[in-house]
């Protein structure tokens, strides 16, 4: 399905229409998607967008994705932009293709273009329907040779401009339906290779030996320690140490048994229990923020005029991607030909560039092929694995399959940054809010860049000498509350270890979202109760955006929200139960959530029992995949809110498996996730991959307060922390 027929495809070029779309001899369409879908169904949504513009049934639009050899770099899976930006570009390409096909049909049929109508891939004259021709007859098997206007930007921002008028949303026929996902049968029946299954002729197996103390480098190793395993090559390049063997189990054993002398380094980390003291006292590498509507001076003045100040501090831990399979890749290094990378990374174009960078090749010398693998949820260890594999393949001159072991996946994947947030509100004598300040102090959002195209941003790149290039960036709450003086600021602190750190930070699903909005939306509740206002009413009074108000109202109504101005502390025996609301925006998408939780007063265990989610991401393209994406976000966010915390001692990360990094178990899943989709037919779709993750932590914290009267300001909400509050 990678070509439109037997004709040779013009070279991939972002200016060429053929880089994005083609028509097969049977009149179906192929769209070449420079992103990919990792199981949330974005590809089906994109197929529906293309189908809508081409007037084809969705099942006749095939999506070829995630391969730098067949698609232009549209940024991979990133920032919930699959449908929003990636789909929009292909929708425009489809509209352009339809315009061209109609022009071709006008010539072919000898009728005016404006007399032509398109239905199901057939173009016919309105004046004489017997005059008709199909897409397949017009161009099937050949490539479009026209150009299309693009904005000159690769990656997420890539945009295409069509000369055609896009379809009127009122006439959409394919949006709003739920054609099935295409990847599901292979994943259930086990009938197709995932990245873990890729085998190439002559392939060797690699493993790494990573330092027991973060920052240590291998000084020497004892070949005698693995002489009982035949045919093992040890690869030692600067700080990188790996083994390669013909049989996978031999590589596993060699990595396990190899005796290594490590450099003596001073342990880099503070004690885990002191991390909340470390952050407030740490020096500041960079400050920033959004002034909203006042300068720092004006804000200080506004606070001076307040008669009452409410303030609170919230803490969020390091968290891990903890993907189901630790980092894996296959690389076939060909210094004089085309090097190939097979990867489960969500950014295969960039990951291929990263492999080119470490190997000293040009980007076009490396083909990055995405094969379905473990969910990445952002910048996980897939790109690290790709570069590690490239180093091993170059060292042995053969294709290598490298896979991390579980402890390496948990220990060494890039982490979600730990943070502390201090929020203050100033009130006048009538309890009106006159000043509002949100301040974050945190590790870097991008100590390693999520694009993973440069060795500086790669664990194994750093271990072989690349200098880290931290981005020093952070963010602000995303909501529409209007207060007379409002400001949001941040300080980024230095990493605990600058080089090759297992606590280097990068993107994890909804980067910064769960921590920032845990703080901002918990604080909104605190202020509402402090002035005796129902938390839903408070949000409706202060949110300044109609779509925001609509999701808040919809979630409250659907959940049967009962107004209250103080924690009701309702009980069933030893179980306290309560309700909490939180809402947020994310890049144009709005989500409001009501959580119902139970708190076992004896054990301190929190159960996120019921979630009601009102979701507005513009026009709804595929209700089923959207709903299931939201359900997945709620469950993953609940896991992070109640269980997940990367533990470490002063030498290294100690969360190294599923026992020491707990995630949600089926016995802890919610009883229900009730989703209300607000469909805005006239509004282009924004992202849905992450937005519903954002308000969950605060909704749960607010519900815990409502159930128990305990305001929990440190995530995750473990039994120990709940019991400490109850004591």
């Amino acid at each position: 399905m990678s070509t439109a027929g037997t004709a040779l495809r013009p070279q991939l070029d972002p200016k060429r229409l053929a880089s994005y779309i083609s028509i097969t001899p049977d009149g179906s369409a192929i769209a070449y998607f420079g992103k990919m879908d990792m199981g949330q169904g974005a590809d089906v949504g994109v197929a529906q967008m293309v189908a809508e513009e081409l007037n084809l049934p969705a099942e006749r639009v095939h999506i070829v994705m995630g391969d730098s050899g067949t698609s232009i770099n549209q940024g991979g899976a990133s920032g919930s932009t699959g449908v929003w930006l990636g789909g929009a570009a292909l929708k425009n390409a489809a509209a352009e293709a339809r315009l061209i096909l109609v022009e071709m049909a006008a010539k072919y049929l000898g009728v005016a273009a404006d007399d032509l109508t398109v239905d199901n891939g057939m173009i016919s004259a309105k004046s004489d329907p017997k005059k008709n021709v199909s897409y397949g007859e017009l161009i099937g098997g050949r490539w479009f040779d026209q150009e299309i206007a693009w904005n000159g930007q690769y990656g997420n921002p890539l945009a295409l401009k069509t000369r055609a008028k896009l379809k009127d949303p009122k006439s959409y026929k394919i949006y709003g339906k739920s054609p099935p996902r295409r990847d599901v049968p292979a994943k259930i029946l086990g009938t197709a290779d995932m990245v873990i299954d890729i085998k190439v002729p002559g392939m060797m197996h690699g493993r790494t030996v990573l330092p027991p103390v973060a920052g240590a480098v291998p000084v020497s190793f004892d070949p005698g320690s693995i002489k009982h395993i035949p045919g093992v090559t040890v690869v030692h390049e600067k700080g990188f140490l790996g083994v390669v063997a013909a049989r996978e189990w031999d590589a596993v054993k060699a990595a396990r048994d190899l005796k290594v002398t490590w450099s003596d380094v001073k342990p880099a980390f503070p004690d885990q229990k002191d991390i909340d003291k470390h952050i407030p006292n740490a020096p500041v590498s960079k400050s920033g923020g959004e002034k909203e509507n006042v300068s720092g001076e004006k804000l200080a003045e506004a606070f001076k005029g307040a008669v009452r100040i409410i303030e609170a501090t919230y803490e969020f831990p390091f968290q891990s991607h903890a993907s189901m399979t630790p980092g894996i890749a296959v690389v076939d290094y060909q210094p004089n030909g085309q090097t190939t990378l097979w990867t489960g990374s969500q950014k295969p174009h960039y990951t291929g560039d990263g492999v080119a960078h470490i190997l000293g090749l040009k980007n076009e010398q490396v083909r990055g092929i995405w094969v379905p693998g473990a969910g990445c949820y952002g910048r996980n260890d897939a790109g690290d694995a790709a570069v590690g594999t490239a180093i091993l393949s170059r060292a042995v001159g053969k294709p290598v399959r490298y896979q991390m072991m579980r402890h390496e996946g948990h220990d060494w994947d890039p982490k979600f940054p730990a943070s502390v947030h201090k929020v203050r509100a100033g009130l006048d004598k009538d309890n009106k809010i006159v000043a509002w300040h949100f301040h974050s102090k945190s590790f870097d959002r991008l100590n390693v860049h999520s694009n993973e195209s440069n060795s500086s941003d790669n664990l194994f790149g750093q271990m072989t000498g690349a200098k880290p290039k931290p981005q020093l960036v952070y963010g602000s709450p995303s909501e529409s509350y209007k207060f007379p003086a409002k400001s949001s600021t941040w300080d980024v602190i230095p990493p605990l270890l600058e080089h090759s750190s297992p606590l280097r930070t990068s993107h994890l699903r909804d980067p910064l979202g769960p921590e920032i909005h845990f703080a901002s939306e918990s604080f909104v509740d605190e202020v509402a109760f402090a002035i005796g206002v129902d938390p839903v009413d408070f949000r409706l009074q202060h949110a300044d955006d109609q779509r925001d108000k609509d999701v808040i109202r919809a979630a409250a109504e659907k959940s049967g929200w009962q107004k209250h101005t103080a924690a009701r502390k309702q009980r069933r025996g030893d179980v306290a139960f309560g309700h909490g609301m939180a809402y947020a925006q994310r890049s144009g998408t709005r989500v409001a959530i009501v959580a119902e939780v139970e708190v076992n007063l004896k054990t301190g265990k929190v159960w996120g029992k019921k979630f009601t989610v009102a979701h507005d991401c513009g026009v709804v393209i595929n209700p089923q995949t959207l709903t299931q994406t939201i359900e997945g976000n709620i469950v993953q966010a609940l896991s992070r809110a109640t269980l997940e915390e990367v533990m470490f001692d002063n030498k290294n990360v100690t969360s190294v498996d599923w026992e020491t990094y707990r995630i949600l178990d089926i016995t802890e899943m919610p009883e229900s996730v009730d989703v209300v989709l607000i469909n805005r037919q006239e509004i282009a779709p924004t992202g849905a991959g992450e937005g519903s993750m954002r308000p969950v932590t605060a909704a749960v914290a607010n519900a815990i307060y409502e159930a128990t009267g305990i305001r929990i300001r440190q995530a995750p909400f473990t039994p120990e922390r709940i019991k400490a509050g109850l004591a």
Binding site: D197, W249, M324, T625, G632, E659, I666
Partner: protein, 151 residues
């Protein structure tokens, strides 16, 4: 290295392997099967599950030498040539996101259903405790499990 005999999905195989090697590596590397996945190598996630003489077993910690006389069933052989009712249910509910955990859920649930054909939701959850899904598809998983139990 030793000669190891394996009976997998009704077929007999003979391989040369280290007797201590986990069965998972034999299934994946020597027999070329793709359904049992490597997830942890620690029997903590379920991705490698096979059914050995009716018991859901984590092949990542099972020495290959120890199962020479047993009948091993993988996902490929679960339905005896057609989709098992659990697979039908997981298809109907469009369950997976990344899909890496699916083998663990389906194989563990299949062994459980053989002994408990009509479990309640609570019994099913208890039987599957410990199986991991990182994408958080638990709502869909439970719908599919109950669909299969009622089929």
């Amino acid at each position: 290295m030793a000669k190891i005999a394996l009976n997998v999905d009704g077929k007999s195989h003979s391989i040369e392997a280290d007797p201590d090697m986990p069965l998972l590596y034999a299934l994946r590397d020597d027999l070329g099967l793709r359904n049992p996945k490597f997830g942890c190598g620690l029997a903590q996630c379920g991705a490698c599950t096979v059914i050995i003489d009716g018991e859901a077993t984590r092949s990542c910690v099972t020495p290959v030498d120890s199962v020479q006389k047993n009948k091993i069933v993988t996902l490929a052989g679960l339905g005896g040539g057609k989709a098992h009712k659990l697979q039908e249910a997981f298809l109907a509910e469009q369950v997976p996101q990344c899909g890496m955990c699916m083998n663990g859920w389906i194989m563990t649930a299949a062994a459980f259903l053989e002994k408990n054909p009509k479990p309640s939701e609570a019994q099913f959850k208890e039987a599957l405790t410990g199986i991991k899904c990182r994408c958080g598809t638990h709502m869909s998983i439970l719908r599919a499990l109950m669909r299969a139990a009622q089929a």
